[in-house]
């Protein structure tokens, strides 16, 4: 049991010692380790996406009473692989009147930002690339860069659907960033730290979902809007905008956007598991299994909501954030502050 829990940490220690034994200085060995860790992140992301896309198609099929992919392999599990190969071999079409450089770099920029989010996710006990003392803030501020990438895609395509989709997407993401950040503030106040490991340690007795239920609901709604997922998928509303900012993209460039959306989905769910559900803490199973289990359960709720609710009108979406979510999350911060003072005053905590 002990060995299973420490499996990945022992592998990392072994590689580090081996690198030093072949004559690398500690600084360079650290650098090589960092590269290996980033490669691991890329691996985790790729495997995750293959599973997630298959799972989403199966879940949506179940909800809509269809079969979903069922031809390639048992339960259609190789369908995503086949789709990936198809996308890789497709012709890369760049329309002639696009802003070429912006058009080409937008998907790359988008996926780099979503990969950068994984640096602060604690995958297990001590299994985090950097345990920043401002980890939560890092997650929010790097995530806010995604708007630029979508704007680049929408503008570079030189297409009115793309531009309209990008405008909607950016307006929505900027608006919902505020309740997203505010909903996490209550947790930061209770834990007294922005460091992910401190927040997990503060949940060793009680998960924050029990102390901050309102915050979890606002976080969840805001995250759905941040991810541009249904029922808030106005930016790529197929019936009115064909595919929003991604209309002109084909082949692998389009696939990069698609991949980045699922990458973000896992990142947001893993952060939700860390902030509200005790992170990697759990009985019996090793810590590096608990976080994916919790993240996947949260993602199932995302799927369930996406395939159950109809799309919301754009102006309703905006006024919902400004008039409902932001006041609620602000009230939650005040309530949390009063609660912390009451607990200290009564000497319970």
């Amino acid at each position: 049991m002990e060995n299973v829990e420490l499996l990945f940490l022992n592998i990392a220690k072994f590689i580090f010692n081996w690198l030093q034994s072949i004559g690398l200085s500690p600084l360079w060995a650290d650098f090589v380790m960092l590269v290996i860790k980033f490669a691991c992140i890329a691996g985790i992301v790729t495997v995750n996406i293959l599973i997630l896309i298959w799972l989403e198609r199966k879940v949506s099929g179940f909800i809509q009473q269809r079969l979903g992919p069922n031809r390639l392999g048992p339960f259609g599990i190789f369908q995503t692989v086949a789709d990936a190969i198809k996308l890789l071999t497709k012709e890369d079409i760049i329309p002639s009147r696009t802003d070429k450089f912006i058009f080409r770099t937008a998907p790359i920029f988008f996926i780099i930002i979503s990969l950068m989010l994984y640096i602060v996710i604690p995958f297990g006990d001590g299994m985090q690339i950097v345990d920043l003392n401002i980890g939560v803030f890092y997650f929010l501020s790097v995530g806010s860069l995604a708007t630029i990438a979508i704007l680049m895609a929408g503008w570079g395509s030189n297409n009115k659907w793309s531009l309209l989709g990008a405008m909607r997407s950016v307006a929505q993401m900027i608006t919902y960033e505020i309740p997203l950040a505010f909903s996490l503030l209550g947790i930061i106040m209770i834990a007294g730290s922005l460091r992910m490991s401190d927040i997990i340690a503060a949940q060793s007795n009680v998960w924050f979902i029990l102390l901050q239920p309102i915050a979890f609901i606002t976080y969840f709604i805001a995250a759905t809007a941040e991810l541009n997922r249904g029922p808030f998928d106005m930016p790529e509303a197929e019936q009115e905008l064909t595919a929003g900012a991604y209309t002109e993209y084909t082949g692998m460039r389009w696939a990069l956007f698609f991949l980045a959306e699922y990458t973000n989905l896992f990142a947001v769910s893993a952060i939700a598991a860390t902030m509200f559900f005790g992170g990697w803490q759990g009985p019996f199973l090793p810590s590096w299994l608990w976080l994916p289990i919790k993240a996947y359960l949260i993602m199932m709720i995302f799927f369930w909501i996406k395939w159950t609710f109809p799309r919301i009108r754009m102006d309703h979406l905006m006024s919902f954030s400004w008039k409902v979510l932001i006041p609620i999350s602000l009230a939650n911060i005040i309530l949390t502050g009063c609660g912390i003072h009451l607990f200290r005053w009564m000497g319970w905590w």
Binding site: N133, F137, S141, S144, L145, I148, M152, L163, V170, L194
Partner: protein, 165 residues
């Protein structure tokens, strides 16, 4: 030369090139995107100075919000050919050179006369807490005045845009 020096040279180079790109681009949207790149470059310099919080604030507010505001403003007022939207005017070039030269002169005087006594490696254990204590304790009045000023500016902008009635 250590690896950190190399990182600094590369990021500083990118920042400077991006800043030049802001000025020289013919397309004003390219200028705005170069501006984002230079904001990110400045943020990496903050990270290298162990001021991670400041760097993230730079990313969130400047690269993530202010630049989006600029790009939105450009898109909404754009009507003519985008490739001719950021032209240099020859008329003002003489005065521009004088102003820029004078500014460079002032900045170089202040750089030369400063004794850079800062030690880079004394990163605070928890900078966020110190900043919070400062803002909410010693400088709370200045902080609140700034907040009210911003609120008044926002309300004013809405009234100008939508009309007072």
């Amino acid at each position: 030369m250590s690896i950190l020096d190399l990182v600094f040279i590369v990021t500083a180079g990118i920042t400077i090139l991006a800043s030049i790109g802001v000025v020289t681009s013919k397309n004003i949207l390219h200028s705005a995107l170069f501006l984002v790149l230079s904001f990110l470059g400045v943020a990496t310099i903050y990270f290298q100075l162990n001021a991670a919080f400041l760097g993230l604030v730079q990313i969130m507010i400047y690269a993530g919000a202010i630049s989006v505001l600029i790009i939105f403003a450009i898109m909404l007022v754009m009507s003519e050919d985008i490739n001719q939207s950021n032209l240099t005017h020859k008329k003002g070039s003489f005065i521009g050179v004088i102003v820029a030269g004078f500014f460079t002169f002032l900045v170089s005087i202040s750089i030369v006369s400063t004794k850079f006594g800062a030690v880079f490696n004394n990163a605070l254990e928890n900078p966020v807490e110190d900043i919070a204590v400062m803002l909410m304790g010693d400088f709370v009045i200045a902080f609140e005045v700034a907040a009210i000023l911003l609120l008044v500016a926002i309300v004013g902008a809405i009234i100008i845009a939508k009309g007072a009635d």
